[in-house]
Symmetry: C2
Subunit: 350 residues, 2 copies
């Protein structure tokens, strides 16, 4: 399958390209490293692209939509029908991700990778449904291993076709009522962590419902014990199809030398699976923001990662990734457009 | 003087306009408050503008440039000539602020408010020099009270003329070799705080030079003891002319119902003076980012403020403010462009 080829192909970015990029950045008219993360993002982007003057040639957000059998357990504040209603809002251009992608100058593509109810064809909608909603992960595997691999494959395909259109930065997004539950279950299995540490209120659960959600995840982990050694098995047992697609977008993006802007909590679960499949993928991932959802901070701490933004966001859809794309572009433009000390006639100090 | 009229005119933003803005934001197709700071910025902007559909009609960065007699004490890693060299780089369009203002779609204006050496007229340069460099604040007042007031007046004028051109968001910026020293001295005097708590490495001092800088600030505070009860007296005794201009831009921006995006450490010193002149100005200020410069975090903690970004930046010039302007614009566009739940046919949940 394409995804295995893609995953095997990913190598860490080269130190030589990083060094070249830092040399350029340190020549610019500013105290050394005084633009902080903007410079780090620019250096990494140059190394990802292996270009001395790296350009952002196109930006695309992929919003993977799926439904979750586990909503039967009462783990979400919204009914499952909202997945399809929100996807229609994406297609109409009126959701948060549409607005923020316009701000960032990015395309938005919506991928039905596992919605419970099919939608008619529409511009902007990519029909790649693997199955019509996952199983209830408390009581049964969310999906088969084959289905999980098909989901990853969809994400890899999205990365490849974006690359073919000239896109150089892809962003992950998700829509799926109930999807903080599989995400928390995956963090618990793969970090690993105690379910309570990585389980939060999602779109707005109260205390009692939160305790119930933790119990559902504990039961799921017990049912699936033994699956957590292999990331794809864990995805099949505990995950969701949008999470599989996001994992594939991370792998495919890295394999095609694109920067992958990872959105929030759900997207990070997909990214974590990709990192467990091939740790080198991390060099290509930019974690856009730290979500309010409890557990996201635990993920960053455990993996030693730093998100770009911390804006108390918790919407998903790719919204945080779209905002952070602007910061990445700022860094890349600094890299290309600033004068050097030699241009300005200044002897560099510190 | 105009600045006193402006300062007296500033009132806190109205709760009624804030409530109207939150009503709109809570109707949008997203879990309530799930866009975090983007929504808070949008609500505040609507209340600042007193508009039901607030628009950003123009953005302008003002970079105030001044020199500092205290550089004679060896408090900076760069020689004072760099102020003029960097201003020339601003005018040529090749500095960090030029690039980041282009990213944000903002004008850049450079104001000579107190450079040691005059520059010839040039497009983008506004000649408003109050005096050719300040006195050495360790041994004498940085400037007279009249000069401090003239500096504030320049900032108020910049805000007014920007408003007349249709600008609705102004950003503060600074250039002045040695200007972390007066900024730290002002934080020490006005927060108040121990000099060591709020004194950092500037553009790159080593340990010994940092200790020396703390000693210079301690001596200045002792010399000027008794001046810290009045913010304008403290500015005259310990400040700089670019800091005076920034203070004036904050006051004038608020008086003309503009949002004022405050850059980093030096700009926050100017903003603090404005807040001590009239605390209501704080409603109009957006603190763009937390600088690496030690003491900036102390300022935020003491004043109970939260910066939008934390990107390890420490360049000044208005660079952090330019980046955060994009976040403010994201929030304002979310406010105006997202669909409501009624549009989407969804019953709001949490």
């Amino acid at each position: 399958m394409e995804w295995k080829v893609a995953a095997d192909r990913i190598r860490p970015v080269s130190q030589r390209w990083l060094d070249t990029a830092w040399q350029r950045l340190d020549d610019l008219t500013k105290p050394r490293r005084s633009l902080g993360l903007l410079e780090e993002l620019a250096a990494r982007y140059a190394a990802i692209r292996e270009e001395a003057s790296p350009r952002i040639t196109g930006k695309a957000v992929f919003v993977f939509a799926g439904d979750h059998g586990v909503v039967d357990e009462g783990v979400s504040a919204y009914p499952p029908e909202v997945t399809a209603l929100m996807v229609n809002t994406f297609l109409a251009g009126g959701a948060g991700i549409n607005v923020l992608a316009r701000c960032a100058g990015a395309e938005v593509h919506v991928v039905d990778i596992g919605m419970a109810t099919p939608l008619p064809d529409a511009p902007g909608l990519i029909q790649r449904c693997v199955r019509r909603g996952t199983g209830n992960l408390r009581r049964e595997p969310a999906m088969s291993r084959e289905e999980a691999e098909q989901g990853i494959e969809v994400g890899v395909e999205m990365a490849r076709t974006a690359r073919e259109r000239g896109v150089s930065v892809v962003a992950t997004g998700d829509m799926g009522i109930g999807n903080t539950t599989p995400s928390s279950a995956l963090f618990a299995a793969l970090l690993p962590a105690a379910p309570r540490e990585v389980t939060g209120r999602g779109t707005g659960l109260q205390d009692e419902a939160l305790n119930h959600k933790v119990g559902v995840i504990e039961a799921a982990l017990e049912r699936a014990s033994g699956e957590s050694n292999d990331p794809v098995s864990a995805l099949a047992a505990l995950g969701g199809l949008e999470i599989a697609g996001i994992c594939g977008l991370c792998l495919g993006g890295a394999a095609h030398r694109m920067a992958v802007m990872v959105d929030g909590f759900i997207s990070s679960a997909g990214a974590l699976i990709a990192m467990r499949i091939n740790p080198a993928v991390a060099d290509y991932l930019v974690f856009s923001h730290c979500s309010v959802e409890k557990g996201h901070r635990v993920f960053f701490e455990r993996e030693g990662l730093r998100p770009v933004l911390d804006l108390d966001m918790r919407l998903g859809e790719g919204t945080g990734a779209a905002v952070a794309m602007q910061i990445l572009e700022d860094g890349v433009r600094v890299y290309n457009e600033m004068s050097t000390f030699a241009d300005a006639g200044i002897t560099p100090g510190a």
